[in-house]
């Protein structure tokens, strides 16, 4: 059986992390499922556990000048309810999982779990979110795109803990989040899609698109986006097919028990096409 550490403070948590190899557990909505045992037996964790959900120091949402700061321990439901939360993130949270899971699952957990089907991730990518990571003697701030390496893998070191996420507080002329799941709630995404755009004087001044659950990582292609920025909206609309084609090679879904690769790819491109056509 594993040991459980329940630190009183964030500092104590970092101290414990510096000395032990621990599995960090906040809401547990992913870890308890991943490590579940047969009925009636305790879950099968491999490493000792560090419980952090009760650390109120990581439970805050605050607005600074151009950014919103969300502590790693804030539950998904609390973020959904907050006045400061970006509308696009609210959109994603409102159809995520179920009320029960949203009340216990945390934003830090959803990021650290690094599932390509994680529902907040496409939005956090599209909003250029940064992750603040601390250890006992260091602190670093990393764009989410660099933080997550691949499915289930992040650059988080064994002695580090996510402390907060920073989301630039921008408004967009166009913003979309769509989740394609097998049912309306409590579903794992077959495809997720988030996109924003700004248009001024018929020129596309900002354009970002992300796809989730269609490969080992969230798909966001900065190079394609940069080629689009500066186009007129007419040019954008007329090049729709070409742009969709350019995304094709980056959308690399698989066949699994939830859907087919063909469906995931086709629907991803349908959503992109629909989105591009909506920009006028």
């Amino acid at each position: 059986m594993v040991k459980s550490f329940i630190p009183k403070t964030y500092k104590e948590a970092l101290n414990l992390l510096a000395k032990n190899k621990l599995t960090i557990i906040a809401g547990g909505t992913d870890l308890m499922v991943k490590n579940k045992n047969i009925s009636g037996l305790l879950p099968k964790f491999k490493k000792d556990l560090l419980f952090i959900a009760h650390l109120t120091e990581l439970d805050y949402i605050k607005k600074e000048k151009d950014t919103i700061h969300i502590g790693a321990n804030v539950t998904l439901e609390k973020i959904l309810d907050s006045f400061h939360t970006h509308s696009l993130l609210k959109e994603a949270l409102s159809i995520m999982a179920s009320p029960a899971i949203r009340h216990i699952g945390t934003i830090g957990g959803n990021i650290a779990n690094a599932s390509p089907a994680g529902d907040t991730l496409p939005v956090l990518y599209v909003l250029n979110t940064k992750i603040v990571v601390k250890s006992l003697d260091s602190e670093r701030t990393i764009p989410i795109n660099d933080f997550i390496i691949s499915s289930g893998k992040t650059i988080l070191k064994e002695n580090e803990l996510i402390s907060e996420i920073i989301i630039p507080d921008n408004k967009f002329d166009y913003e979309v989040f769509l989740k394609v799941g097998a049912r309306q709630a409590d579903a794992i995404s077959k495809i997720s899609f988030a996109a924003i755009a700004n248009v001024s004087d018929s020129i596309v001044s900002d354009f970002r698109v992300t796809f989730g659950a269609v490969g080992p990582r969230i798909v966001r292609e900065i190079e394609i986006e940069n080629n689009i920025i500066g186009l007129t909206t007419n040019e954008l609309n007329s090049r729709c097919k070409e742009i969709c084609d350019s995304y094709k090679k980056f959308i690399t879904p698989i066949d699994d028990q939830r859907s087919s690769a063909v469906y995931r790819k086709k629907v991803s491109l349908n959503l992109l096409e629909k989105y591009i056509n909506s920009i006028k």
Binding site: R183, Q184, Y263, V267
Partner: protein
Amino acid sequence: MSNISKAIKKVDSEEKMSGKAKYINDISYDDMLFAMTLRASESKGEIVNIEYPKIPKGYTIVDHNDIQGKNFVKIIFEDMPIFAEKEIKYYGEPILLVVGENRAIIQDIINNIHVTYKVKTPTYKLRDSVIHYEFEKGNAKEIFNKAKKKIQFDYSTGYQEHVYIEPQGLIGLYEVDKISIIGSMQCPYYIKNAVMQALDCDEKGVRVKQTTTGGAFGGKEEFPSLIACQIAIAVNKIKKPIKLIYNREEDMEFTTKRHPSNINLVAAIGENNEIQAIKAYVALDSGAYIGLSGVVLQRAMIASSGVYTVDNIEVTGDVFETNTVPNGAFRGFGAPQMMFAIEMFIHHIANELKIDPLVLRNKYLAKQNDITSTGGKFRDIIIMDEMINKVMNMSDYKRKLSEYSKEGNFNGIGMSWFLHGCGFTGSGEQKHIKALVKLRKEKNNHVTILVASVDMGQGIQTTMKKIVADILQLPIENIIYNNPDTDLVPDSGPTVASRTIMIVGGLVAQAAKLLKEQWVEGKEITVEKRYKQPKHIKWDEEKLRGDAYPAYSWGVNVVEVKVNPATYQVQLTGVYEVYDVGKAIDERIVLGQAEGGILQGISYGSLEVMKNVNGRIQQKNITDYIIPTSCDSVNIKTVFMDNPYLLGPYGAKGAGELTLIGGAPAVALAIENAINRRVTKIPVTPEYIMELIDYGKN
């Protein structure tokens, strides 16, 4: 007499809402042990050798060597062993139990048992027929020989998993000269008979008691007999209480499901576009053992003309054995597969002939005294015309159909018409079940209902009590109906086939009337009633000819959807249902059946994907196997139209299964209408809709 349909508080709601109800996993005994199953890791082969690790003291292996009686689970045929001896026929087939105190140690022992197999080539295709039936009405063969025009389509349906909230589970108890089985079940006497055969003992040697059951849907009809036999053998060997509870994944992977089917329908069309004859062929996948598959096939075949009267019908069917997990009973029992196919087919015929489906359907809609597919008779009044009018008005069907049929409109509306034969097929009640019920008036003037029917959530404890209380004019609190215990109640038959209210409830009502006549204050009196088949009902079991069912319940469903043209997702936008169940004994309870049933049918038709790849079930949990949430439903509009059945209590007929049957064809027709493409298989998933939009025909 008060109106029996007026809803009362469900007698078990408080116990269940408060969490006080004890389900099998809530029950334990001081020296109780646990059992877990070692399963085959090949789909087909022979066991060559089993290598065991050192088994710690207090832990026991229980396998086929411990069986005193026959190594078969008594269902219909002697085909499924309790424990595999040598031959393995599906991945996951039980080989032995490991029994002991600590489940982690049991698991460890199981992980360290190494079984060597001589592997054989498994069959997953429908190739090896193990049961074949055929029957004919009129001169179908002759007409098909001469027919100038034929319309033919193939339909297919997938698995459906029960997803009862409470997984399978039983406890076995050792008493002197007796083994007791308690747990989650539909049919205490099925289990009793199976365990008697396994232990080679007489009826005194086995006692079976139902515990509060968290849903069943047919999944606890015959399956619990298998684990009851295993547990009984283990208890007989170890002489201590033993609990066997399945985990959700084990339950989804290795217990029975609805039979996947392929159905081929052909219509011979005459010069005036009339349907001269229909030829139906049904193929069911039984999995590795036949179990109830033959009876399921019969029900499917009998339903092959749906609610329509066609004078000439030729029906054939096969049960095919494959090296996959055995399939079994599931609410509807073969009818949902066939009713999907025939409802689609009648529309597809109309489309081919370019006539309004409604006109064609009305032309063939069965009327009282029409001859059924098996040459029996629809003896009772059929009120489908009123029901259809009702549902069309409620849903604004005609206006919506014309609006939604316009090009580029991705809304759709579909209407299914269906029936369900109530009770056992053919002479099952008379020949095999011979139901007996008793009522015992206690000295304190309370009355105990003694039947083997179980409440599995469908509300039978409430409705049975209501019947007795109403007839005897007693308060409902004075009626006692405990979970059945085979040492205390007679065999009133299994809780299946929508028979419980109509047959068992009918006998209970007769017994209550008898008791009323014999009533003496302060004296204990027991009365009993045994089932007698109505004289006018005749059935030839060999030829499948005659009256297949004593009565029929009828239904009309309308489902409305919106299909997303970018993601091909289907959103329900309206559900309307009208039923003739004779008379509702309690409106709210039947409403529960109606809303749950149609939703289970709609999701069978559009959401629930379960696939078997090389003998392995791919969707093993409720994350991957999709059943609807409340967010996927709409406010369902339900109407019951009274049409009392002379031989049912207060006129009641079957209700439980009927409500599932129309959901799949109604949603499939709605999707067909939305995307203007022909749908021939269920579930109609977004992935299938994408294919249809890209490559399908209208």
